[in-house]
């Protein structure tokens, strides 16, 4: 299944030489697995793994938090962020629908670094340019910026030789570090529920970083397959699954990343929705056995009526059970509710549960 339109990250040759299985993802040819999803999952939960995340988009904005229009583009307040910290939030359309979820980094008083999803980068760049004030300066640096995530309880140990001073980084903060002769941005963030870092380097240097990290025998490469299981076990949303332009952060259960004390595009729609009440919302659910839900399957009530749809599903190695996220009618969102997932002719029992399925991660160690 060759697709000539797929883009390659600067690590593509590395993946091929590691014999990774490649799949299309958000317009990119990406490694889904190297040694196997379960092995790579274990490397990340017990040791340390690296992930090619070069496909994601990065923007720079220069200007005052509020006057630039940046604060108005994001559901979180950014004006009060200390320099050197990052904040997760959403960017909404006028209807309150989620255009993307993103992380804002405050590099300096008037310098902002924004990380967005791969498949939405072009759309997001256009939206930023449309809504930023003419006084603000905007740069899409996605094509010059490589990104490698290093995740797992041993990641600090590996990184302290690589980026001296990294031990001081607190959760959701970042700094500039001298690594392999480059000044690079490293944040203590991730998508796995484990202690970990995300390294942003020049696109042309990404392969050097990848190879240097793999020289440490403890470090293993991990693909998007493991990454998806890891993020789902800790209940993180994936754009295009739990999040899309037809759903608001209230429906997607991201209310805690919305600050109603400030203005942002889509706020009025959210207030209206808040007053009317939600029709549906994202829940976590746990299967009773190993059989696992899959995205786009239906969710059923006890009486067999359709109450929603699965947005993400997988086998959970931590629980040895199937786990999933999905939208259900609000009346079925209570934890402990018995539901079914599957198709009309094969329904499998599950229980509505916390969306944080795995709580033993090293995230804040």
């Amino acid at each position: 299944m060759e697709n000539k339109n797929l883009k390659f990250t600067p690590l593509h040759d590395e993946h091929v030489s590691l014999k990774a299985k490649m799949v299309p993802f958000g317009g990119w040819d990406m490694p889904v697995q190297y040694d196997g999803i379960l092995k790579e999952y274990e490397y990340t939960r017990r040791g340390v793994a690296i992930f090619d995340i070069c496909h994601m988009g990065e923007f720079l904005v220069f200007g005052d938090a509020v006057e630039s229009g940046l604060d108005n583009l994001v559901t979180q307040k950014i004006a009060d962020m200390p320099v050197g910290t990052c904040r997760y939030g959403c960017m909404l359309n006028d209807r309150g629908g989620i255009m993307d979820d993103l992380i804002v980094f405050r590099k300096a008083e008037q310098e902002w670094f924004i990380v967005v999803n791969a498949s939405t980068t072009a759309k997001d760049a256009a939206h930023f340019q449309k809504h930023l004030s003419p006084k603000a300066q905007f740069k899409d640096i996605s094509s010059q910026t490589g990104k490698i995530d290093i995740q797992g309880p041993l990641s600090r140990d590996v990184m302290k030789n690589f980026a001296p001073g990294i031990e001081k980084l607190e959760f959701y903060s970042f700094g500039m570090f001298k690594c392999l002769g480059e000044e690079v941005l490293i944040s203590r963030t991730g998508y796995t529920g484990e202690l970990g870092y995300e390294i942003y380097m020049p696109w042309s240097k990404a392969a050097d970083f990848w190879k240097a990290l793999l020289k440490d025998a403890r470090v293993k490469p991990a693909g998007l397959g493991a990454r998806d299981v890891l993020r789902l076990e800790v209940g993180y949303s994936l754009y295009g699954h739990e999040l899309n332009e037809e759903k608001t952060p209230l429906e997607s259960s991201l209310t805690r990343f919305v600050n109603f004390d400030k203005d942002f595009i889509g706020k009025n729609a959210l207030i209206t929705q808040k007053n009317i009440g939600l029709n549906e919302q994202v829940i976590g659910f746990t299967a009773l056995d190993r059989r696992s839900p899959r995205a786009e399957q239906k969710l059923f009530a006890q009486d067999g009526s359709v109450i929603g749809v699965v947005t993400s599903g997988s086998f959970s190695p931590a629980l040895i059970k199937g786990i999933g996220l999905g939208f259900v009618k609000t009346g079925y969102a209570k934890q402990g509710t018995s539901i079914f997932f599957g198709e009309d002719k094969s329904k499998n029992p599950a229980i509505v549960s916390s969306r944080i399925f795995y709580k033993g991660g090293s995230l804040k160690q």
Partner: protein
């Protein structure tokens, strides 16, 4: 990819091994490798009848579910209960400890609809192109 000389194969990558008065059925090394880590196997009920190429079982890997079709018709007389707790046996030992079901075949002439090892090897070569 490992292929066992005296087994018979389907285009859906199931294998059948003839023992004295019954046949053992499973999925091939190629199939387990394409599926990746197997996390769940739905086994058929013992004593039920199955037609050739009819759905026999289903297997789930971390990311997907696939149906397994019976290489021969007949009566299911045993299933591999070890797969309930240890579905990864299919990954580790697809041709032996990862067997799925034992069937008393109703018509051994149906073997004519299957491939031998050599034919399956050429078939795999065309699949991988």
């Amino acid at each position: 990819m490992e292929i066992i000389e005296h087994y018979h194969y389907t285009k859906d990558h199931e294998w059948v091994c003839i023992e004295e008065d019954l046949v053992v059925v499973g999925i091939t090394d190629y199939a387990q490798s394409s599926l990746g880590d197997i996390t769940f196997v739905e086994l058929p009920a013992v004593d039920t009848e199955v037609e050739q190429f009819e759905e026999l079982a289903s297997v789930e890997s971390v990311k997907a579910a696939s149906d397994i079709f019976s290489p021969l018709g007949g009566k299911i007389v045993d299933v591999n209960h070890n797969l309930e707790e240890e579905p990864g046996l299919i990954n580790r030992s697809p041709y032996d400890r990862g067997w799925i079901a034992k069937i008393v075949a109703s018509d051994m002439d149906q073997l004519g609809n299957l491939m031998n090892a050599e034919e399956y090897e050429s078939f795999l070569a065309t699949e991988q192109e």
